[in-house]
């Protein structure tokens, strides 16, 4: 299933721009950044798959859950494009696994460096200067952002290039690699199941001077209990015949309102 690659650097820059403009805008709770992925790299996929059916299959594959730091995402998307460009639709599972394995760790790094460290440094400079009526720090911040926008247009291409190198190295073992990537992916997913839901229960039992927080208690029984139970319940719900994702979302909202009203969750 080895094909002649068709994507060029120009394609990748275009993909990066489309992706970067959309990114978190289409964020939804079931597939998270997936629609933006489709929006971003859809035209590139079209070029890879002139055949309509394959194109649809590829689109459906990318309509699946994906979430990571949006800037770093370019690298992942570039790498998987390289794979699809080389191996065609038969690489769909590998694409999926690679996206899943990388998204967690890269989100961790990106969120720390780009969403936390950078704004803290630039923000404190800009903020203090602004308080004194000096706009220099603020303008510096704007310029830094311009610089990063420029960098980001190139990142998908970087991912594509490096991805191609890797594929050439491991060529022909797509099945084994898919399986191994599942192992990595599922390990990460196990960790995500413990952390993705951040709702806590504020309930406490107050009896005279005895004061017991339910949250502490749950933690003692099973740490991350609320998160893992939520994921598990949703997993079961999704499995139910005739249960649409839309219905589940509405159920969760209803449930949240009830829990919020009675002070069960916060």
């Amino acid at each position: 299933m080895n094909r002649e690659p068709v994507l060029t650097k120009k394609d990748c820059v275009k993909g990066a721009c489309r992706w970067s403009l959309m990114a978190v805008t289409t964020f939804n709770y079931d597939t998270q950044l997936a629609p933006a992925v489709v929006f971003g790299i859809g035209p590139l996929l079209r070029k890879i798959y002139p055949d309509d059916d394959e194109y649809v299959e590829a689109l459906n594959n990318h309509f699946r859950y994906f979430n990571t730091h949006p800037w770093v995402a370019n690298l992942v998307l570039g790498a998987t494009l390289a794979l699809e460009d080389k191996e065609g639709i038969s690489a769909a599972d590998a694409v999926q696994n690679i996206k899943v394995s990388l998204m967690g760790p890269l989100a961790g790094i990106g969120d720390t460096l780009i969403w936390t460290l950078l704004p803290t440094i630039l923000g404190s400079i800009a903020g203090y200067m602004a308080l004194e009526g000096n706009p220099v720090g603020t303008i510096l911040w704007l310029l830094t952002n311009v610089f990063f926008i420029a960098v980001r247009t190139q990142l998908m291409w970087v991912g594509y290039r490096e991805g191609t190198k890797l594929i050439t190295k491991f060529g022909g073992k797509i099945a084994q690699i898919t399986d191994a990537a599942s192992v990595l992916g599922l390990t990460v997913v196990g960790a995500l199941a413990a952390t993705v839901v951040t709702a806590k229960t504020p309930l406490t039992f107050q009896m005279g001077e005895v004061n017991m927080a339910l949250a502490d208690l749950l933690d003692k029984i099973l740490p991350s209990m609320i998160s893992v139970l939520t994921v598990w319940a949703l997993y079961k719900l999704i499995g139910r015949k005739g249960m649409k994702v839309t219905t589940i979302i509405l159920l969760v909202i209803l449930f949240s309102m009830v829990c919020s009203a009675f002070g069960i969750l916060a």
Binding site: D30, A126, T187, G190, V196, M257
Partner: protein, 256 residues
């Protein structure tokens, strides 16, 4: 002092723009300092704009939307604060106290439109399957439109009807609506993981999920550490498979 119509329109556009920008391009990323500078230019009082923007910037250091969580909209807070500092004529301090609650509303607005996005996403995928690729792309453009409308709505109301109305609306909204929405915003990210599990070989390799869970929940190893561990496990899995194949082939030959 009242605002000119063009100023009101400009401020509403800023509210829409920075919210689109924050979710994508990240030129301003809705940073209060930057927003304050812009508002200052529009309102002709750069100093107040910088002062308000600087204050909200320092207030929001470390606040980041990660993992799909929703955070207060300090950008909109800055806009409102700048506007009311001007109109009430009582300076930045008053503006800050009026701006903050409106900004807080950003959490609920964000949860709301993310919920709506689900419907758009589903519709888009349906178009894909029907090979209506044009429509697929077009419907997705509804998301940015929604962001613009939803996130500039509080600003529009406040600037046209006055802050008291916003406050009145906030007071009338029952706690279970606002609270419920933010709880939903914390529960719903679990949906994505649950869906993931459905199209990964979760049952066949549930042991790896378990390991990831224990290491994260009990031992609090951050996700990068888990991924390093997962890489080790995946590599072992891979080489074991290879070895199995080889042994199966070589069979008795290798044996002592």
């Amino acid at each position: 002092m009242t605002l000119a119509v063009w100023q009101i329109i400009a401020l509403i556009l800023v509210a829409a723009g920075i919210n689109l920008d924050r979710r994508g391009l990240s030129l301003t990323h809705a940073r209060p300092a930057i927003v304050g500078l812009i508002c200052g230019l529009i309102l002709g009082d750069v100093n107040s704009g910088l002062y308000i923007g600087g204050t909200f910037t320092l207030m929001s250091l470390g606040v980041a939307a990660i993992g799909g969580s929703s955070v207060p909209d300090y950008g909109v807070a800055t806009i409102i604060a700048c506007a009311f500092a001007q109109t009430t004529g009582q300076g930045p301090e008053v503006g800050l106290t009026i701006g903050l609650p409106v900004g807080m509303l950003g959490v609920q607005m964000d949860v709301l439109f993310k919920i709506c996005n689900s419907f758009i996403a589903q519709k888009a995928q349906r178009y894909a399957n029907e090979k209506e690729f044009k429509k697929m792309y077009t419907i997705m453009l509804l998301s940015p439109v929604m962001v613009a409308v939803f996130m500039s709505f509080p600003t529009a109301v406040a600037l046209t009807a006055g802050a008291p109305l916003v406050q009145a609306i906030l007071d009338v909204l029952p706690a279970w609506v606002t609270g419920g929405l933010s709880v939903a915003g914390k529960l719903l990210p679990g949906l994505g993981i649950a869906m993931l599990l459905h199209y990964m070989p979760a049952k066949k390799y549930f042991n790896y999920i378990l390991i990831g869970f224990v290491v994260s929940a009990y031992i609090k190893v951050p996700v990068l550490g888990v991924a390093l561990l997962g890489t080790a496990l995946a590599y072992k899995f891979y080489t074991d498979n290879e070895a199995r194949a080889t042994v199966g082939f070589a069979g008795g030959l290798e044996d002592e």
